[in-house]
């Protein structure tokens, strides 16, 4: 990696600067939503449905209202008076805030109790009596499409079935032709299970409506405060909530991972309660509510087919997918992409032909289709292509590394136009894989594996060479509810040369206060320590679409550097005025302008900043600040190669991840320490769904895995010590060549682990195992193949 251009004092890009946000966190002085306590604040708790599909015959709140301290019980009928009982989803579907007729999934909000303290509110919830009439439940998305399936969305007058959308990409005819002409075709069904981000902080808010000023302030766990403000204004405009009177404050966030993008009913009910009662109302969900009612991720039923020549050259890819969206399409995707960016499924390979289709389906499950630390369905796409690639390698009896190296898009072919329409900005896939193989000692491991097999021991080596697509996105294609997916920075330089930079994104642990400061430091030479970064308050920060899908660095980060460059342009004019020379005679080095040829004649950015307020040229506006709204010309395409080494217990089927090597390429790096931290965390969230996490439902729509007893987050014991390394292939179109890295590891890790487990059993003909790879699944494979102890 190239050396930093700035000194450790300035701490621009490439320095592993210690995080500026940490001093408050390590002292327990972070400020999370549940830490906020306002005078007269009331507490809200929610009554939820035990049924997955049921008619609400009656709601009797009389007993609850008799409890001292219970002030109100809000139902769908209450909200219907204000026409607030339904709200739009990000995908322009509709979602109940509180039901007036029927519930559509287990744990759906049915009523809300407002009380003077959270203990009393909980007592109130227990005292609300709801009479349900259970209705037929549809859990299986395949059955949901059957002609005789009950139509779930009875609220939609003209809805005759449970299909939400059909989406497709690529040339079907050309792909079918390529398949017909190929030597080898492999097919594999795979299910990418429904999972939950389970950030350690759950969701919640404090809604504070001031009757006098008519101002609504909402402190909430949101990754996209500005978009939320606009949504609130659109949803509640008719009851007098006007956008200039709405202030969304996203304080410290205890992890987001995509789960804090949607607007959940709880937020809206709390706002309604505060407006009606005129007091602050706090709602914080508990863990079971969080797992059972908040947006899920994945739930893709995939059928994949890959065609190739005898020599292993991949020729075509064909994918058909059924997507279970729950009772409403509340996916957090860009509006024009109902299946997100699933069309990245051609992965890292020079495939000439591909065709992919996805059908979205309604079922009696919670809505969602959010990312789980990934960019819009990229994880599903990567698991699909990386798994089927190994199936092909097995079919051809080729080493999976060799097959990948043979089919990678050649480095010289970038920018690469993919068969499904994307223009990959840059990449060097062979370099990343070779580096990973070198670090892990690939040849030696294959030798060890052979020896162990001879001794009857089972170990596997699994590769995943993924390509991501992040940084949404160019306004011509990307919007959410019509809001274009640019992002922003507003930069002010104070007279003493210190800076304040505000952004439209919102960190949930990514370290923006540090990395954004380093970007400004890199561009202006102002020490990062002296750059104050602010996000998350819609009254002060410039409008932006928020932080998810690894978009902060590609969009807001870019805006930061462009704003700084605007400042530098003005600074140049001021420097010329101070040095009494022409601006064209000045040259920039980090921190100062000097006259070409006479470096002694120079002005530092601090001197220039002071002059901007005390001695600026006549005819020029005073001050030194700039705003940038960055509309990326393309997305960025981070990539990497991961290798997992696993050992399998032949008695129990337990899988132990012995080693995990991750070589990532996210372009130019702002803070190597933080990038490694992001990758470590992503790897753990890749291991989790590969081995442990799943939310499933029984035939009656009962959730299983609805608490941390059965929704299994890995601990430090199940997690290996990660081995990370980098290659650097800058993005040609990004202002400082960065690509975004927060999610690469979550996306790339699962197939590496799945491929390793299958590899351990490949010699007896095992070709596939579904995630999460539980001990019993492995044990059954051992048993079927006579390997069980």
């Amino acid at each position: 990696m190239s050396e930093p251009r700035t000194s450790p004092e300035v701490c621009g890009m490439g320095h592993s600067m210690k995080r500026k946000e940490d001093p408050r966190f390590i002292r327990g002085k972070g400020n999370y939503v549940d830490d906020i306590q306002l005078p007269g604040m009331l507490h809200m708790d929610i009554v939820r449905s035990p049924f997955a599909h049921a008619k609400i015959k009656s709601i009797d709140a009389s007993k609850a209202l008799k409890i001292p301290g219970v002030l109100a019980v809000i139902t769908g009928e209450t909200l219907a008076k204000y026409n607030l009982h339904w709200m739009p989803t990000l995908m322009s579907d509709t979602q109940m805030v509180l039901p007036t007729e029927k519930v559509m999934y287990q744990a759906q909000e049915v009523a809300a109790v407002i009380a003077t303290d959270r203990y009393v509110a909980a007592d109130g919830v227990e005292a609300v009596e709801v009479d349900y009439e259970p209705l037929p439940v549809v859990v299986d998305p395949v059955k949901a499409l059957a002609p005789d399936a009950p139509v779930l969305r009875t609220d939609k007058k003209d809805k005759k079935d449970n299909r939400i959308f059909h989406w497709q990409a690529g040339d079907r005819a050309a792909t079918d032709k390529a398949f017909a002409e190929s030597d080898v075709v492999v097919k594999q069904d795979m299910y990418i299970p429904r999972i939950h981000v389970a950030s350690i902080e759950t969701c919640g808010c404090v809604a504070d409506f001031d009757r006098v000023s008519g101002k609504l302030t909402v402190y909430m766990t949101t990754q996209a405060p500005h978009a939320v403000r606009t949504v609130f204004a659109l949803v509640a405009g008719h009851v007098g909530l006007s956008e200039e009177k709405i202030r969304i404050i996203s304080p410290d966030i205890g992890g987001g991972f995509g789960g804090k993008v949607p607007v959940y009913p709880g937020y809206v009910i709390a706002v309604a309660a505060s407006v009606v009662i005129g007091k602050p109302v706090k709602w914080v969900e508990d863990r079971m509510e969080n797992l059972q009612a908040d947006s899920f991720a994945r739930d893709y039923h995939i059928h994949a087919e890959l065609a190739a020549k005898k020599d292993g050259t991949m020729t075509a890819l064909r994918i058909k997918t059924l997507a279970d969206h729950g009772y409403t399409d509340a996916a957090a995707n860009p509006s024009k992409f109902p299946a997100g960016l699933f069309s990245i499924c051609t992965g890292s390979y020079a495939l000439k032909h591909a065709f992919a289709e996805v059908d979205g389906v309604y079922t009696n499950k919670p809505p969602g289709g959010i990312a789980y630390r990934c960019s819009f369905r990229v994880t599903e796409a990567v698991h699909c292509i990386e798994r089927i690639t190994d199936v092909l390698a097995q079919e051809l009896k080729m080493d999976p590394a060799e097959l990948r190296l043979k089919n990678f898009i050649p480095p010289e072919k970038f920018p690469w136009k993919s068969a499904l329409g994307w223009e990959y900005d840059s990449g060097n896939y062979p370099a990343a894989l070779r580096k990973a193989m070198e670090i892990v000692g690939y040849e030696a491991l294959r030798k060890e594996q052979a020896e162990k097999r001879a001794r009857g021991e089972l170990m596997g080596i699994g590769i995943s060479s993924f390509t991501e697509i992040v940084g949404a996105g160019p306004s011509k294609q990307f919007d959410i509810l019509g809001l274009k997916m640019f992002d922003s920075c507003e930069l002010r330089i104070h007279p003493t040369g210190k800076a304040l930079a505000r952004f439209g994104t919102k960190s949930q642990g990514q370290g923006h206060e540090t990395t954004y400061a380093q970007i400004i430091a890199e561009e202006l030479g102002i020490p990062a320590a002296q750059v104050q970064v602010e996000e998350g308050d819609t009254d002060t920060a410039p409008y932006g679409l928020g932080t998810y899908a690894s978009r902060s660095t590609p969009t807001a980060g870019a805006a930061g550097s462009l704003a700084a460059r605007k400042v530098r342009e003005k600074a140049k004019k001021i420097a010329a005025h101070l040095l009494e020379c022409s601006a064209d005679d000045l040259e920039w080095e980090p921190g100062k302008f000097s006259v070409k040829g006479s470096p002694s004649r120079s002005k530092t950015i601090q001197e220039i900043a002071l002059a901007a307020y005390t001695n600026h040229p006549q005819g020029m506006e005073a001050g030194l600040e700039a705003v940038s709204y960055y509309d990326p010309p393309n997305l960025t395409f981070p990539f990497g190669s991961y290798i997992a080494v696993v050992d399998i217990d032949r008695g129990t089927g337990q899988v132990k991840v012995r080693r995990f090597v991750a070589v990532d390429d996210c372009g130019n790096i702002i803070n190597p320490m933080i990038v490694d931290g992001q990758i470590h965390g992503g790897l753990a969230m890749g291991l989790a769904p590969a081995l442990l996490e799943e939310i499933s439902y029984d035939d009656e729509g009962n959730i299983t895995g609805g608490s941390f007893m059965d929704y299994l987050l890995p601990t430090a014991v199940e997690t290996p010590s990660w081995e990370t390394a980098k290659t650097v292939t800058p993005s040609p179109h990004h202002p400082f060549g960065a690509k975004g890295v927060g999610e690469s590891a979550t996306v790339g890790a699962p197939p590496a682990i799945a491929n390793a487990v299958v590899d351990a059993l490949a010699h007896v003909g095992v070709r596939h195992v579904e995630i999460p790879i539980t001990p019993e699944k492995v044990w059954r494979l051992l048993k079927e193949n006579g390997l069980a102890e």
């Binding site: 959270r118 203990y119 909980a122 007592d123 227990e126 508990d286 863990r287 079971m288 008695g651 129990t652 337990q654 442990l692 299983t704 895995g705 007893m709 059965d710 299994l712 987050l713 890995p714 601990t715 014991v717 199940e718 539980t774 001990p775 019993e776 044990w779 059954r780 069980a788 102890e789």
Partner: protein, 290 residues
């Protein structure tokens, strides 16, 4: 998650505690470490009008050898058991067990007595105590009585303790020379209940045969029970692979696990067998056998 309201009592002595339990009867519940009870109350699955906290009663936390048996105070925390020198040096099976109960933080509150008195077949100590042929000491209005562990577990979450009795001590006979024990647990992750687990305590004679055998399984049925059939197979026999394998088969055959997210009945029964083999082998090894 917030529990329903209840009254809390912190008696300073056992008689005081028993008096409270007698007074409140069924509406009272003893709280020891509370690591099973409090989550229940918070989920509002459980209710108790009165909690009688035995945590304030002095002298209920100890691990000592006395009169040929290891005596564990009813309110001894798992972490204390884990760090006890006698346990570390002479009762490896108890160390194995304490180390896999819940997680280290829970073990700083959870108690050995609570783990038994809860009567949960998924808890880890019942199998261990069965293998060790422990005796439970209970105190009630009519004074003290001892209950052999084989008669302690009477049903799913039910024990021989009366509503007004308190588990005050667990007594474990000190094993003779050439004894060894082990507890082997399969869990999905740290903190989980056992998918299956096996506790084995053996004593070998001069000829390397089993002279005493204790074997029991965790979460293998509604009530913690010893694998008697398996014990019978081994008693007096050579401590070899074949005998151990046969015993494990019998233990698994006798198990009646139920299917859940941890696994199917078939898988759990098979894991009972695998873990029984491993626990027995380890126990033999620790007993100085091959």
């Amino acid at each position: 998650m917030i529990p329903s309201a209840f009254d809390y009592h912190a008696p300073a002595s056992i008689p005081e505690a028993i008096a409270l339990l007698s007074r409140f009867g069924e509406s009272a519940k003893v709280i020891s470490g509370g690591q099973s009870l409090l989550p229940l109350l918070k989920l509002r699955l459980g209710t108790a009008e009165h909690l009688v906290d035995i945590g304030r009663i002095a002298g209920l936390e100890y691990v000592r050898e006395e009169g040929g048996s290891l005596r564990i105070g009813g309110r001894t925390r798992e972490s204390v058991l884990e760090r006890s020198e006698i346990v570390q040096t002479r009762f490896p099976i108890l160390l194995d067990t304490a180390r896999v109960i819940a997680d280290p933080l829970v073990r700083n509150r959870a108690t050995v007595g609570g783990n038994l008195a809860h009567g949960d077949p998924a808890n880890d100590h019942p199998a261990t105590m069965l293998a060790l042929r422990a005796t439970v000491v209970a105190q009630g209005p009519n004074g003290e009585r001892t209950i052999p562990i084989d008669r302690f577990f009477t049903g799913l979450f039910a024990t021989a303790l009366a509503a007004d009795e308190i588990l005050t001590e667990i007594r474990i006979p000190v094993p003779p020379n050439r004894s060894g024990g082990a507890y082997m647990k399969l869990e999905r992750k740290v903190g989980d209940y056992a998918t299956a687990a096996a506790a084995a305590q053996v004593t070998l004679d001069g000829a390397g045969n089993f002279s005493q055998v204790g074997l029991a399984l965790t979460n293998a049925g509604p009530v913690p029970t010893r694998a008697s059939a398996a014990e019978d197979v081994l008693r007096g026999k050579r401590a070899d692979e074949a005998n151990i394998a046969e015993a494990a088969r019998r233990a698994a055959k006798a198990a009646s696990p139920t299917a859940d997210r941890r696994g199917s009945v078939e898988y759990k029964r098979e894991m009972a067998r695998v873990l029984a083999v491993r626990a027995l082998k380890k126990a033999v090894e620790r007993a100085g056998g091959r």
